[in-house]
Symmetry: C2
Subunit: 665 residues, 2 copies
């Protein structure tokens, strides 16, 4: 008859709606060391009994759970948080139970009838006695005494006071009856990265273009010489395109010409030649030792070296000879080059992840990451991860991070939203975004609101790039220097992670290969460029200043507290970031029009910021160092391409007025 | 080394975001027989390969899955639906795979190079040959021939045509290579109810008040006599408060008086006496046979009998004597009556679901439902389910519905939102709502939008009540007959399931026990009432008309297609319901002001309805039978408490104009 009843019928608390939770717990949420994980849950029971709800958490591998009581927010919602202090994975879940003592207490304090109070004291003594049974040592003794005190000869009122005392409540709180507690059905995971995963400033350069006087080509050694420049600009990640030997077969010439000249260097993404493949350094760039030296020198300046990992081979790559089974073949035996008919990429062989030898391929590809980690690489920028299988990346990133939890992976997946999100969920630490193509106020507001406020922020960490070697947006082509100023200011202040492809960016390089394309003219992808870092147009001072501001202001080092504010001008965008305690409030206003002066009134949420709207406050432009006194939420701003294109204010309430002087009045 | 790779690395399609899905599949979605379950999913793979996505479904217990191809909606979203034609549970899930032939086909049709085409034909022949290996009989033979045809001596263009032929595509579609298909990680469930679960019209009455001339009290026999009246009003569920013997100990008198007089009948919710408990009929109402007769007579009129199940006992209930362990005791041995200190309900003992004998209690309580099902009850209205454990209800409803899948459970849980929702998720077919307290335009719009559009509609089926024996809202008390008209019109046209507590409602009974309470004066809960069904104020004709309109118009029999429309008057509310094919469009306008005439312009979405906005259309008031010709989206309406308080229009485009006549022009 009742065989289907089971044994859990008296677990009366329901737990649901636990946040954060990604895809029913299938994927972790992301945090960096030092942050909190704020957990909420719905927990409730039938009837009027009192529920206690606890958050449980532990570092992966730790023997036991730590617990924190959750706070009732009303409407059956509960909240608590735990700090993540170490790299790696934390687990968390929620437990709750009907607390019989609290339920009794809740009724008891409202009882008015003396006979009922006397009866209820007997019930209470029973509950306290049971708790004594669960306690040890001194606590056991104290609880026993209190249980006795509830039903001794003392006057009723005195015993009632004991029953309602904080002391009893506190003791009972420590020895609850959890026999029938409910545990949430899933254990959830928080993946904890190092700080730089959440706050990083990237500079991409082509090592072969670090040409100095007296050199014809750049090199890894010359990269070392370039490091102080990169550091002075305030960047903390130096990101290098592939540094490996470049294939000769079907090598591309300047501006993607189908045939290369004898001395043309080819594209760094056509990886592999006689000299080696993904684990070799191009001889023209230097040696493996040079590479290690570069990593070490960068580390001394607090700079991570990020290496581009592009899983594809030139026809001359050793893998092609040694592991032909890793590539797809035509029936006649030829290996299939990359193509998207009618387009052909004859200098590139993609790997065939459907190969019967796929497991060996995975292991070899993983060893490439391991190899470069040994040389000193701490960050990988992964080229087109969306053209390789998702299970591969999930396996690979878990494997690498298990051994090296500080390693950061940036996904260069310029593709459809679900795919970008899946890559982020399965483990990529940071992700490229559509920012490069979001230029109007509405586009920027909508997109950054999504990035910073949508639940996907739990796993998708945006990294904003105003340019890349593949993307010179028309806005930059046509807008010139003021456009560059606007875009880099947006990237640097909208997102905690951003980067530029330099020196093209700071030197305001803006000639496209032809009208209607986003390709650079004389792109470094196919040729060496000699950059004149002293070009008068250079934005190096401006960028240096921006990055200093980012460094000094914790509000800019975190994405979730971004908020947009109204301005009555479609060409001006206004937003703020603030720390949770509002001790650091950064307010940015950027002119999106690279051609004309624009002005308008901004509207600020002073009360949300904990400010006294009736008092003046200071806005200090950290770019120009100018200070203004503002009053009230509505204030005038004016920006101009030939003056300043942006304000980055620090907002502070003036704490002193004349009334603060002792002798006033 | 690679031991952690596993074997699924070549399952390259990801499936996520499947809808509908309640709490990660923990709970079923609800449908009624004859509806469709529309399933969507995100499915995508790496690179440019072509994905095929199928919906799988089966009746619980069926041996194999049925499948339907899903349609790509763009942006990696897919959709298909399946019909539910039988009571009980259906399972559904999603599968997808990279289709090698489609991927090949997609590239092939864009190939321009003759040598490439020749090579690709060879590859294609291989794929078709493999498909032949999977096929049988004629299909096998045809595929073999086609494979040969791709690589025979025919001219290239002829073979290319074969490769791209619909015939080959169709054959290949039937024999896909699904070795590496991905199955969504969960099987989801749709719980299928009978039609009345989704469209029902309830009438609650107290059997003891069906007093006729010549009788002092009502009875089940007199209920039978009342049935034609109920049917004439258009109700299809007759809902009875508990019909069991009523306790004498601490029996309540009229208007909830603490002490009852000798002849006071007591509250039907103080269940159980000498004469029996939850499985007995109160002798004053009649016999079990009378009860069965009532059910049978109702069934003949197409009316379901719904019985109230209230799990609580009077001190005189046989259970108290036979199963004292099912109740909570004071240390001195007394059984604890219900209380919410300082309030006491001394005529009621709640069950103690924490009893050590809880399993026997569950089984006995389940047997109560089984008992009444045997007598002819098909619907249960459950009193205060939120004061009994959730695991109990989930077990009970599953158990009952397994044997009797047509049984409907209505949850009377006037409590906090999460609790109401959980009860709906775990199995209650319909739920009481907050409608009774939502009276302004904004309140009604927000709440009904939530009920009809929020994802919770997958499991939460609202049943709207303008009044109950416990709730005579102040709006009815003060607004009088026009308020009753507005509220019943709203209930009947906003929701497919609604009910009234009569004859109090149709007789416009509106005296509260005292100012500031929602209790009826001389409430039937504590005394017998003799209703004069012929009161001139009666709304019986109006309600009868409303219910006829509901019966005749499928748009009103379904909740999800409710839409609110703008009216430039806060006292007028306007909304529509339509069938998916727009052949039945019902437009309601209700005056929410019971005291004054109100007028305004309504704004209609003619284009959404597939109507030609430049042509006139007819709105036919199904309440008054008046017809109006309207033109364009904006039209004037005027409603008045002393005229009509509501329009319930059927909207139809006039199909005939003078130009339709042959002799025109």
């Amino acid at each position: 008859m009742g065989a289907d009843i089971g044994v859990k019928g008296r677990r009366r608390v329901m737990i649901e709606g636990v946040t954060p939770e990604v895809d029913c717990g299938r994927f972790p949420v992301k945090r960096v060391v030092g942050q909190d994980v704020v957990v909420e849950a719905d927990a409730f029971t039938d009837g009027h009994d009192q529920v206690v709800c606890v958050l449980r958490f532990r570092k992966d591998g730790a023997r036991s759970w730590q617990e924190r009581r959750m706070t009732a927010l009303g409407n059956d919602r509960w909240r608590a948080s735990f700090p993540v202090v170490e790299l790696g994975r934390y687990r968390y879940t929620v437990c709750a139970w009907v607390d019989r003592f609290l339920s009794w207490h809740h009724e008891f304090e409202r009882r008015q009838d003396a006979a009922d109070i006397a009866s209820a004291l007997q019930v209470g003594a029973g509950l306290v006695g049971e708790a004594a049974g669960r306690a040890r040592g001194v606590a056991k003794k104290q609880l026993r005494e209190m249980a006795a005190g509830l039903v001794n000869e003392d006057p009723l009122e005195q015993r009632r006071e004991l029953a309602l005392s904080d002391e009893l409540a506190e003791r009972m709180r420590r020895h609850p009856d959890r026999d029938r507690q409910t545990a949430y059905s899933r254990e959830l995971v928080a993946e904890v990265d190092r700080t730089r995963a959440g706050f990083s400033t990237w500079y991409e350069l082509f090592p072969r273009s670090t040409v100095n006087d007296g050199h014809e080509r750049g090199s890894l050694k010359l990269c070392v010489e370039r490091l102080p420049y990169v550091a002075k600009l305030g960047f903390d990640v130096l990101y290098l395109p592939p540094v490996h030997p470049i294939g000769r077969t079907n090598r591309k010439g300047p501006d993607n010409a189908l045939v290369a000249g004898e001395t043309d260097p080819g594209s760094p993404w056509a990886i592999g030649a006689e000299e080696g493949g993904h684990k070799a350094v191009h001889p023209e760039l230097g040696t493996l030792e040079d590479f290690r030296d570069l990593c070490a020198a960068a580390a001394k300046l607090g700079i991570d070296v990020a290496l581009d990992i592009a899983f594809q081979c030139s026809p001359d790559h050793p893998y092609v000879r040694e592991h032909p089974q890793w590539f797809r073949h035509w029936p006649d035996g030829r290996i299939q080059y990359a193509e998207n008919p009618p387009k052909k990429y004859e200098d590139i062989y993609p790997f065939d992840f459907e190969s019967d030898d796929w497991q060996a391929l995975w292991i070899e590809l993983a060893s490439i990451f391991e190899f470069w980690i040994e040389q000193g690489v701490t960050i990988f920028r992964v080229d087109n991860p969306h053209t390789k299988p998702f299970p591969f990346w999930e396996w690979l990133i878990a494997r690498i991070r298990k051994a090296h939890p500080g390693i950061i992976f940036l996904a260069e997946a310029f593709t459809r939203p679900r795919i970008m999100h899946r890559l982020a969920k399965l483990g990529f630490t940071q992700s490229y975004t559509y920012f490069t193509w979001r230029n109007t106020k509405q586009e920027i507001t909508e997109y950054l609101t999504e990035l910073s406020q949508h639940p996907s922020r739990e796993y998708f960490r945006p990294n904003l790039w105003p340019n890349t070697p593949d993307i010179l947006h028309e806005f930059l082509q046509l807008g010139g220097r003021p456009a560059f100023v606007s875009r880099v200011t947006l990237a640097a202040t909208l997102a905690a992670n951003y980067g530029i492809y330099g020196p093209a960016f700071e030197l305001v390089e803006r000639e496209p290969r032809e009208h209607g394309t986003e390709e650079y003219k004389a792109s470094e992808k196919y040729q060496v460029r000699r950059w004149d870092l002293g070009r008068p147009e250079t934005l190096s001072h401006y960028i240096s200043r921006l990055n200093r501001i980012r460094h000094d202001n914790p509000a800019l080092q975190y994405d979730w507290r971004l908020e947009f504010h109204a301005v009555d001008n479609e060409d001006l965008i206004c937003y703020s970031k603030s720390t949770a305690d509002f001790r650091n409030i950064i307010l940015a206003v950027v002119n999106l029009d690279p051609h004309h002066r624009q002005s308008g009134f901004v509207e600020l949420p002073l009360q949300d910021w904990g400010m006294d709207a009736s008092q003046v406050y200071e806005v200090h432009d950290l770019l120009s160092d100018a200070r203004f006194m503002w009053h009230g939420p509505r204030n005038y701003v004016e920006l101009s391409p030939d003056g300043s294109q942006a304000h980055v204010f620090r907002v502070r309430q003036r704490v002193m007025t004349e009334q603060d002087f002792d002798n006033f009045a």
